[in-house]
Structures are given as structure tokens and as C-alpha cells.
Symmetry: C2
């Protein structure tokens, strides 16, 4: 069997448009970019020709002279299975896209193995090949070397992470994780809980550290002693192990830094013979699609990842174009469901 004939219709170039309209290439460029120097009559004729041929300028040719790639990058150094469980990421991408669509840029995504060096190499490659004009920084760590790297590579950058953290000079869109944790603690304290434990994520990440700090602050603000806490590393296993550890300290409530850990914790509690929420209240973070459909449904913190993505993209495009915009910090919202209730009456 032979290849289907007809095959790829050669994509038209500006020369084809010029020929069809009976003008020079220069005139086409001027006409379609709304620049002066072409009569309205000719401009219209050129527009029609371009329309007929369905012509769009090749970004490669454009990129050559403007030294702009018309693309931005995102490098993810995550274990794919870890990436999977993050509804934030998906929403973020959606938000980014709404902004990119208007600015004629696209998103280049690179998933690399875990490890700082692999991640750095990902950005380096994109930069040296002139594939991107700027990049997003997600999952920022304490002492993250990427801000410096991107500066060195001459790339515009925008970090996404907790409000008020240190991004080494890189502009950032602040996510107010802390507010969500604070709301959760307030909610529990309001129900009468006093021994509220905390399961943090992976201490190396800023968004993990900031959630832990928020829990501490909120406890203090309510005059409660900061109870026990343990790291769950944002995984199911970690969340379960941390919960087993914390249950020995007899808390009446546990605040988790992620839904997955909370879900694992819920199972551990039930195995230990505890009823949720009668004996133990639990709160998660992220509002995974599963959260609302558990038994009992999980009280959790919902972020607005689409808004965060849009804000980050807005800021990044502004940096690239040399414009200035004031970044926003979307706030998360506590979704109260059935996994939280008043603590067992003091016995």
C-alpha cells in the first residue's frame, strides 16, 4: 500500500499571499500588521488574499528577527504519579492558557525525572535553543537555585508559591495557602477542638513550610498550644504513617496539608476504631474531586488554581513585553463537609 497521495498541502508563505494580491511581500506585512504605508483599498485586497490562502506567519521567521520565541516554558521535576494527584496543576494550566491564547504564545511543557539537576537542565535546554521567552516556577523549594538560573539564562520568570516567601528576586504570584489552613484551624477551634494536630507535606517545599507556619500561627492566635505535627510528604503512605504517629498523642482533630494525606489518615483512624467525625475531625487541602464523595465527605480547602494560572501568565507575559502589572494573590476557601464536627465531650 502506498502513502495516500495528495499528501501535505504546502503551507503558504507570505510570498504566496503577495503574489495573489499582486503586491510585494513588504506590502503584505505592512497591511496585515496595521501599519501605515498601504492604501485602504490594497490593504483590503491583501486581507482577502491572506484569508483565501488561510495564511499565518511562521513563528520561526518571526522569532528570527524579533529574537522572541513566542512561547513560555514549564519544567516539572515530579514523579508522574505525584503529579497525577494534584488538581492544582491542571487548573493552573487551564488558567495559563486563557492568557496565552490572547498573546500569540504557546506553552512548552517538559516533565523531567526528579532531581534539581534534571530540572535545571530542562530550563537550560529550552533557553539555549531559544525555544521560550520565559518560564513558570512551580514547587519552589527553600534555597531554590532556579531563580538565579533563569536570571543567568536571560529568561523572564514568574514563581508561583506562598505569599510573602523569598523567591530570590523573581516576581511571583502569591497563593495564600496559609489563609486556608488558618480557616481550617479556626473552624475546628470554633467547634471546640483544642488538641489540633497537623500533617505537613514535604518540608523542603515553600508551600509546605508556609502551611505548617500558618497552622502554628493560627494555633497561637487562638491561644492553643501548638500540638504535635509530622511530615507526610504529600503521599498516601506518608499521610498514613504520620497519622499513626499523631494518634498516639490523642488529638481530637488533624489538619492535613493535602487531601490525599487526609484520605489515608481517615482510613488509619477508622482502623484504629475511631469514628470520623465523632471521635476525630479531619481537614484536607486541595479539594480533590474525590473529597466530596468520601464517607464522610472531606472538609477541605479549595484553591482557585485557574485564577492563579491566569495571574501567573499575565505577569509573565507582562515581564516579557516589558510592561508592568500588579500581581494578585487569589485566596483559597474552606469547604466545610462532614469530616469535621464538635470534639467528643470532655471526659
Amino acid at each position: 500500500m502506498d502513502e495516500q497521495s495528495g499528501g501535505a498541502p504546502a503551507t503558504p508563505t507570505i510570498a504566496d499571499v503577495a503574489r495573489l494580491a499582486g503586491v510585494s511581500k513588504g506590502a503584505v506585512s505592512l497591511a496585515l500588521n496595521d501599519k501605515p504605508g498601504v492604501s485602504e483599498e490594497t490593504r483590503q485586497r491583501i486581507r482577502e488574499a491572506a484569508e483565501t490562502l488561510n495564511w499565518r506567519p511562521s513563528i520561526h521567521a518571526r522569532a528570527m528577527l524579533r529574537s522572541r520565541a513566542f512561547a513560555v516554558g514549564l519544567v516539572l521535576a515530579r514523579d508522574p504519579r505525584h503529579l497525577a494527584l494534584d488538581p492544582f496543576f491542571a487548573g493552573f494550566l487551564g488558567g495559563v492558557q486563557t492568557v496565552l491564547a490572547d498573546s500569540n504564545s504557546v506553552l512548552v511543557l517538559q516533565v523531567v525525572g526528579q532531581g534539581e539537576e534534571a530540572e535545571a537542565e530542562g530550563y537550560r535546554r529550552l533557553a539555549r535553543e531559544r525555544r521560550i521567552d520565559g518560564a513558570f516556577l512551580l514547587d519552589v523549594r527553600t534555597d531554590d537555585r532556579r531563580p538565579a538560573l533563569l536570571r543567568e539564562l536571560g529568561l523572564a520568570a514568574v514563581a508561583v508559591g506562598p505569599d510573602g516567601a523569598d523567591y530570590d528576586g523573581t516576581p511571583f504570584v502569591g497563593v495564600r495557602d496559609g489563609d486556608g489552613i488558618r480557616d481550617a484551624v479556626e473552624h475546628l477551634a470554633g467547634l471546640g477542638h483544642r488538641r489540633i494536630a497537623f500533617v505537613e507535606g514535604a518540608p523542603a517545599y515553600l508551600h509546605s513550610a508556609s502551611r505548617l507556619a500558618a497552622w502554628r500561627d493560627a494555633m497561637r492566635a487562638h491561644g492553643l498550644p501548638a500540638g504535635p505535627h509530622a511530615a507526610g510528604h504529600f503521599t498516601g503512605e506518608g499521610g498514613a504513617a504520620a497519622t499513626r504517629l499523631l494518634l498516639e498523642r490523642r488529638p481530637t482533630a488533624i489538619v492535613y496539608a493535602s487531601d490525599l494525606m487526609a484520605i489515608a489518615g481517615m482510613s488509619v483512624a477508622r482502623e484504629a476504631g475511631l469514628d470520623v467525625p465523632a471521635d476525630l475531625s479531619l481537614t484536607g487541602f486541595d479539594d480533590n474531586p474525590e473529597a466530596a464523595h468520601l464517607h464522610p465527605p472531606l472538609t477541605t480547602v479549595r484553591q482557585d488554581p485557574v485564577a492563579v494560572g491566569a495571574a501567573a501568565a499575565e505577569l509573565l507575559m507582562a515581564r516579557i513585553d516589558g510592561r508592568r502589572v500588579t500581581p494578585v494573590s487569589p485566596s483559597p476557601r474552606l469547604i466545610v463537609r462532614g469530616s469535621t464536627a464538635a470534639p467528643p465531650a470532655a471526659r
Copy 2:
């Protein structure tokens, strides 16, 4: 405060390398692409110069002459929240990346609003701007118009979906979803179940239809009457509603086309006073990170999305380069956990 001076270090071009090595641009190109016409001595000198300057050819310049973009595209017309819950997708991206890294191509990701037209426009834009050489097709629907569109756009394409389905001539990497469902039914039948219901996803998608068909076939193969089934649309709400509907028919087991639906179903069953697995066995599909940490942990089907992604990328790159490879169809695996058991003794 002024901009930090020093600023962007101008990215070196091939001319810089040539100057440093004391040769012409042509010689550099020949040397670094391992083509004859340069002495080994000079070649080495050029290599060192390129290394020193940390030079990499600009893809834009390359793209101009080869009329290759050195990028492939993926357009997703999904609700961001729906995307979030799909561990398949994340693994897929990871697998794609392993292959792309070797072939000097990158992945351009576009998330568009739902709707066929938005999706088509996404591919059209990427193609006309010469941004991509090929594209992946995910979430293929019955009567999907994208294979025809991509052919018309002159793009190489690879579809990902159930083995043996009709992709309108587009080469595909077959995922053997059906095998997973069959294994689940066999597992349940082996435990003694006879009334096994099924919650399908969204009928418009091939991978949904194929899972439904697999359930029917497996039931027949075991001499069982195809029990009731209902659509859950791959959402939590849908899974819960479908479960309520099916429970009226008193099944002893329900097979779900996704974990999320199974999780929602488990809550519904428990609210109805049923014990899982004593009164009702449940199986999911996907092996979400949560699945292992539920109470009881969910018996489910685990795919190997990384292998699928790698296979799809391999096939796509081969199409682009005009090579031929024989595509593989990775098989899923049933993970037996605590949500399945023998049916309640025939009363």
C-alpha cells in the same frame, strides 16, 4: 531601583563559535553534525569552542530550512477539574517526555475550553504557525473529526485509545482497557459473583465504549447474564447517581470504569447500609493514588500510562521522520485489594 545591570547575556550564534575556532560558519555546522569535510583536528577545535560558549543551534533557524518545528502538540479539550483527576494523563506526559528528550523535540500543550470546535481551532493554530510537526490525539470520540483534520493540516498524528477501535486511518497506540475490565469481571466471577453491574463513563468516548463492551463480553464468556449498567460520566456525582440506580437491582458487585466513580459509589453503598465488601464488591479503574488508602482499599485496574506515553511518542516521532515502527499495546493489570470479596451466601 533600576534593573540589574549585566542583564541578559546575548545567546551565542554559530558565528561566534566560528570566530572563536577561527573557521567559517559552514565548517562549524559540518563539524558538529558529524558530516565529512572537516579534519579531525579542526573538528575537535570547533567542538571545544562550542562547548566554551555553551552554544546550541536555534531551533528557529533550523526550522526555517528543514521546515520542521521540532515540536509536537497535544490539545486537550477538557474541563480543568476533570483533567485533574486523571492519573493516566500525568503518566502519559512523563512517558512522552522520555522519548522526546532524545529526539530534540519538545511538547507544546494547549488546554482549550470544552467543545470540538475549540479543540480543532487549537490544532489549526499550531499547524498554521508551523509550531508543531505532529500531534497526539487523546480522548478519542466515536465519529471524531480530528483524524481528518490533522490529515488535512498535513500533521503527523498518533491516536491513543482502546485497541482495535476505528481511528479513521490514523495510526494509534492501543491501550488494552478491555483486558483490565475482563480481569475484574473474572476476579469477581471467580469469587462467586453472578450479578455484576457496570458503571460506564461517558458513552461518547471510545475508551468508555470499549470498557462497556469488555464488561459485556466478559459476562457472556462466564455464562452470566449481562446485568444492569448505567453511565457515570467519569465524575463523582455521576458515579454516585449511577450507583443509586443500580443498587435497586440488587447486584452483588459493581465494576466501575474509573476510580472516582467507584469511590463515590462506595459512599453511596455505605449510606444505603451496605458493607463493602461483605454485602457489595466494587472495582475501580486507574489506580488513583487514593485507591490504596481508602477504607477498604479499592480493588482496581492499573494501567501503565508511562509505557503508553512512550509508545505513542515513539510512534509519532517515527511517523514524522518517515520511519516505520511496530506499535505496542501495553496491558493493564488488576490490583486486588480489600473492596472485593465473596458475595453474601446465597440466601
